[in-house]
Symmetry: C2
Subunit: 83 residues, 2 copies
């Protein structure tokens, strides 16, 4: 199963990369509000059932992919084409 | 309008961050296939129509948010709550 994990800085946590993007976009003439920058991780997991795959990816997030103190994560799962 | 931009390394482009995630996950005991790491950028844009907002965010991607030579991008738009 294919998993897409979005890891974002939590509200209230300073995001210097987002601030840099925001100010660069304004310098380029774009009218933008707050910008926040996070990571997207695309993974192939072996579990074939949704609940099992979600639980496994949650463990990956807690252990490696996100820092739960300052980042939130969102997991999207989709069947691998051809499975 | 709220825009979410996913920027990912193109297929065939080396992704050392993805390789590091993949090998760390395996060392932690997770059975994962290829992992790829990209960026997610959340933005607030002023355009209120979908087509206009999409065109503006595409220009931001070409000029700043992505490197079109080695990265692909995907744009998702949603109305800001309360608009």
């Amino acid at each position: 199963m294919r998993a897409t994990v979005l890891v974002r800085p939590k509200h209230g946590i300073l995001d210097p990369q987002g601030q840099a993007v925001e100010s660069s976009l304004r310098q380029l003439g774009f009218a933008v509000g707050e910008a926040r920058v996070g990571r997207v991780v695309d993974l192939e997991v072996e579990s074939n059932d949704l609940a099992g795959a979600r639980a496994e990816v949650e463990r990956m997030c807690e252990q490696l992919l996100a820092n739960p103190l300052i980042e939130s994560y969102e997991i999207e799962l989709a069947e691998t084409p051809g499975e």
